[in-house]
């Protein structure tokens, strides 16, 4: 079966294993009634039937990789809290705003109870005594659906005091943001949740697992990560790791947007599906629009260095994509065909990150703004060749050393692997440079063409008029 669910715009179905999107086919997938009719809260029952440490072990064995961007295994993260320090909190990162990404929004709008159940399992396993579910401010429908789901789940005894009649008690508090990309960074999220400006904290000492919300051990998990837990508890780690590869088990939600025939969000088998599959196979995007040539694609959200057709056969697997010079990030691919104006495309992303800089670190605050200004004048045909060097110089002040980029056979380039070094606390500054660097390294001639154009204006004209 292939098609789009009209009530979940963007989501495209197919005959692939479904872990987190299994209920999307129902128009009323977000209701408690539907949830209970489709094995809802059975994962919680399974978890509560075992001691908490066994549940934690199951998640560790399954290697549920974090779906927010960094890809750190959830079970390991939960284990980083210091022994004997309480209370510990769970903060759910639903502040999805990475350019190109949307899967958490769909999971919150279409299956809020699955997320709630995942939160409960995490709290039980890791001994977390209160949960804060932080939803991006601009996601009105997600906030409404989660609010209704929380109210219904409280009334039915799934959240709050003595859950399912046991001595497990936890509150889930709906919290919502007010528009700031940087708050998706976990320490900024915590600052925001404490009622402050959402500026990232230095790590160390502010590793949330040890020193997070109110200075207490805090687990920050992404929505999709937690949404995996009910299925995992019902089916076990063995069934979970049977899907995907050893290093990247399970499935992943990936949004493919831009110049493809069928842009959409797909739940794919982790670690196996290649970029070529996703972009060209009929069950996914079905090729580039108008059968145009593919020029470049961003493999992992706006922060990720770009790939070209040379990288199409890479699988959606973190270490291989990292070695090839980029990252999988938040599961978002943006596709650019031959008609794309590359410097202008890079500018939209750089403008985004320059705009979203919180201003805490100078290289990002100043550097992002300068990258945007310089790039902007190059795009407008007012740049000089010194501007191109200046872009690299500013970029190097944010990220010293070689910035990761892909290999390219035609250009004779070998890959510089991920990650980059950075002079900033968080990744917003480097992200402002990533599109500039990728575009300059892979498509320098497009920049030079604009500059050449400017130099064809006779410079003697000024003198002649006098």
């Amino acid at each position: 079966m292939t098609g789009t669910y009209a009530h979940a715009p963007g989501f495209i179905v197919g005959d692939r294993p479904k872990i987190v999107t299994s209920r999307f086919e129902y128009e009323d997938s977000y209701t408690l009634t539907r949830y209970l009719a489709t094995d809802g809260y059975q994962g919680l029952r399974a978890a509560l039937s075992r001691p908490a440490n066994e549940v934690h072990d199951e998640v560790r064995t399954a290697t549920v990789l974090g779906r927010g961007g960094a890809g750190f295994p959830a079970g390991t993260k939960w284990g980083l809290t210091p022994q004997g320090v309480y209370p510990r909190y769970l903060v759910v990162n639903g502040d999805e705003s990475e350019p190109g990404t949307y899967k958490d929004r769909l999971l919150m709008e279409r299956d809020p109870h699955q997320l709630i159940e995942g939160c409960l399992i995490a709290c039980y396993a890791a001994g977390l005594s209160q949960c804060f579910l932080y939803i991006r401010g601009e996601m009105a429908l997600a906030q409404e659906r989660v609010a209704v789901a929380l109210n219904d789940a409280y009334a039915a005894g799934y959240i709050g005091k003595n859950i399912l009649g046991t001595h497990f008690s936890v509150d889930i508090v709906l919290h919502w943001g007010a528009g700031a990309y940087v708050v998706g960074e976990e320490t900024a999220l915590i600052e925001s949740l404490e009622g402050n400006r959402g500026m990232p904290r230095l790590k160390p000492p502010f590793f949330p697992a040890a020193n997070g919300l109110y200075g207490q051990p805090t687990i920050v998990n992404n929505v999709e990560t937690l949404a995996n837990l009910p299925w995992l508890m019902c089916n076990g780690a063995e069934a979970y790791t049977a899907i995907g590869t050893k290093t990247s088990p399970g499935t992943r939600m990936v949004a493919v947007s831009g110049h493809v025939k069928r842009p959409g969000v797909y739940e794919i088998v982790n670690g196996v599906t290649t970029f070529r599959d996703l972009l060209y196979k009929d069950e996914f995007c079905g090729g580039i629009r108008n059968d145009n040539e593919l020029k470049a694609f961003v493999p992992g959200g706006g922060s990720a260095p770009w790939f070209t057709p040379d990288q199409l056969d890479l699988p959606f697997e973190g270490s291989q994509v990292g070695a090839a010079g980029s990252m999988l990030g938040s599961g978002a691919i943006m596709v650019m065909d031959e008609t794309t104006d590359i410097p202008a495309a890079a500018l939209t992303l750089t403008r985004f990150y320059a705009h979203e800089s919180c201003g805490k670190c100078t290289p990002c605050r100043e550097g992002g703004t300068w990258l945007e200004r310089i790039l902007s004048r190059v795009v407008d045909g007012k740049g000089t060749s010194a501007d191109l060097e200046q872009l690299i110089e500013v970029g190097t002040s944010i990220c010293p050393g070689d910035f990761p980029h892909a290999s390219n056979e035609k250009l004779g380039l070998t890959a510089v692997p991920f990650p980059y070094k950075m002079n900033t606390i968080c990744f917003v500054g480097p992200s402002a440079y990533a599109p500039v660097n990728s575009a300059l390294v892979l498509f320098r001639e497009e920049f030079e063409a604009r500059i050449v154009k400017r130099h064809t204006i006779p410079v003697t004209a000024v003198g002649a008029a006098l």
Partner: protein, 204 residues
């Protein structure tokens, strides 16, 4: 210039009560104030400071960091058109030009009748449905110039009032934790023991 109403004070206290520290309720209360007045008034921010135990400068300091908070009145309908990569690739720039022309205002401007404020927005998490926009944070997908015109006409004629509330209201449903079901929030320093369910036994 208004402080929170009696009804909103009750709601504010309910929200504050969910957090281990009152200041955590700051952003939700700012939304509540914006819902009441359409934007954040000075009096409301002073009032929020009193409720959560912060100075009004701290409240303004937090509020001014976040894009959604407005410090002067905006149109009844805030129209945010996304301009980040996926939308740009699918023609958002043309859509923005069209929108400016249709409404007769530049980006950031408000129409004379106070109905519409137009803004250039960053990624709205609907990238496969580009170009997209939000009206008071309600989505419109794959928006053509004709779609935009009929959206504006519908809003002007009051045909979408059931779907799109006036600016200030984001979610129309709030969380309510029943008194008899909630565990309740306590300051972190009053907890030192491990949660009771970490006793090495199955809970069920």
């Amino acid at each position: 210039m208004s402080r929170l109403s009696e009804g909103n004070i009750r709601l504010a206290n309910e929200i504050i009560g969910r957090y281990p520290r009152p200041r955590s309720a700051m952003i939700p209360l700012l939304h509540l104030a914006q819902q009441q007045d359409g934007y954040l008034t000075n009096d409301a921010m002073v009032h929020i400071g009193e409720l959560v135990g912060s100075t009004s400068a701290e409240v303004y300091g937090t509020a001014s960091f976040y894009e959604m908070f407005k410090f002067e009145p905006v149109g009844k309908y805030l129209v945010n058109i996304c301009g980040t990569l996926s939308c740009a690739l699918m023609g958002s720039e043309e859509l923005m030009h069209h929108a400016e022309h249709k409404l007769g205002v530049k980006m950031g401007g408000t129409t004379d009748d106070g109905l519409f404020t137009l803004e250039h927005a960053e990624c709205q998490a609907a990238c496969t449905e580009a170009p997209c926009l939000q009206v008071n944070y309600r989505y419109r997908f794959r928006v053509t110039a004709a779609d935009f015109d009929s959206l504006i006409d519908d809003l002007s004629a009051g045909r979408l009032v059931d779907e799109i509330p006036a600016h200030g209201t984001v979610a129309r449903v709030a969380q309510h934790i029943p008194r008899d079901r909630g565990v309740g929030a306590v300051p972190p320093e009053s907890v030192t023991e491990a949660p009771v369910w970490l006793d090495g036994k199955a809970a069920l």
